[in-house]
Symmetry: C2
Subunit: 222 residues, 2 copies
């Protein structure tokens, strides 16, 4: 399948690697590809990473959106709406947008708070601004490596959640999650249920601190 | 042990029944015992319930607070601070307050939102107003019957959280949780970590809806 990913951070890169491994055609989108390629400050500069992952194509947000049958929002929450605007509504319309972003606000110190919560969510903000995009929230409750390799922890006996208004889009995303190794995929309901998974972040961050590892998740026992 | 419970709803009653079963001496506190005894509207009026549970003594909030070595806040979140004020700071000071309350706001329709969250929590509000009380947040993430009989679900292989500033008070509460049957008790840290467990409520409510049962919990897999 053609898949576009918005965001070149650890989440976007980890998704891209797994998706090409599963034989998908991936364009990784960024605001300014030339600028991203010129960056040398990070531990693994993008030009080096691309040499190591030659099947991944770097492009603009719009290139990634135009390419994808599924588009994945792997940008930082505070940049998500601007990234989607840069991708362009016309290129996103009618597509499934797998939204992983979290509305984390680091401006008030650690641990971060949320810049939207309780009576609204980032996923709902995106859905309202792009009403013809099929937003499906998922994967935001686990660390990047677990998103794509859930079986590395407890043989995959833990849960992931999906929220969205469109049943067919949720089915498509569920198929993708299954291909990563997820078995317990819980459909919480419409996009407003994304409030729940976004508001789960504070306990997740505290569990990371208390347990000393981000390689953790919850299994819903019922 | 002498234990005082504030609140005569399903949570307070369920705790009281389990605690007397475990040989604790329980006073169940309410604002106005005569009024509570005169109520006949509920499915199980208090005077009938007390006949069925003769070891439980009904008293005022102040009676329960004065009696308890541990005091349990099982009131509705929106009434918790007033109930604690009625109990009286002098009677609560230096004691362990096991806080189960959730800051649910039903005034905006269903599902409820939270009247405090993100940058503060109800547990912190209580701790600030009663600085000499040892507030320990726990048990607010499961339904009443699971609080006291965790082994009825998946043989108890699921998790409960504690938050609080006082290590000795947390140890005392952990002992009580162990006596109920809890095995995986995760200490999240100081009382500010109660934000996480209170903000977990929205996903818990949605899981209840999606799974069709409140007899659910999460196991933290790590």
């Amino acid at each position: 399948m053609n898949i576009g990913i918005l965001g070149t951070g650890i989440v976007g890169r980890t998704l891209a690697m797994r998706l090409v491994e599963l034989s998908h055609a991936v364009i990784l989108g960024t605001r300014d590809p030339q600028k991203t390629l010129a960056e040398t400050a990070s531990d693994l500069p993008m030009h080096t990473w691309l040499q190591q992952n030659p099947k991944v194509i770097l492009g603009t947000f719009a290139d990634a959106a135009a390419h994808g049958e599924i588009v994945i929002n792997a940008t930082n929450g505070n940049g998500s709406l601007n990234a989607l605007r840069a991708a362009g509504e016309a290129k996103l319309n009618s597509k499934t947008l797998l939204d992983i972003s979290n509305p984390l606000d680091f401006s008030k110190g650690m641990p971060p708070t949320l810049f939207v919560s309780n009576t609204d969510s980032l996923a709902e903000q995106i859905q309202r601004e792009f009403p013809n995009v099929k937003v499906v929230k998922t994967l935001n409750t686990v660390t990047a490596s677990l998103m794509v390799h859930p079986r590395q922890l407890a043989n995959g006996t833990h849960s992931v959640f999906i929220s969205g208004n469109d049943a067919a889009a949720k089915a498509k995303v569920s198929d993708l999650l299954h291909s990563f190794g997820w078995e317990d995929i819980i459909d919480l309901g419409d996009i407003s249920t994304a409030r729940g998974v976004e508001m789960y972040l504070p306990i997740w961050l505290r569990l990371w601190g208390a347990l000393g590892t981000g390689l953790l998740n919850v299994r819903v026992v019922r």
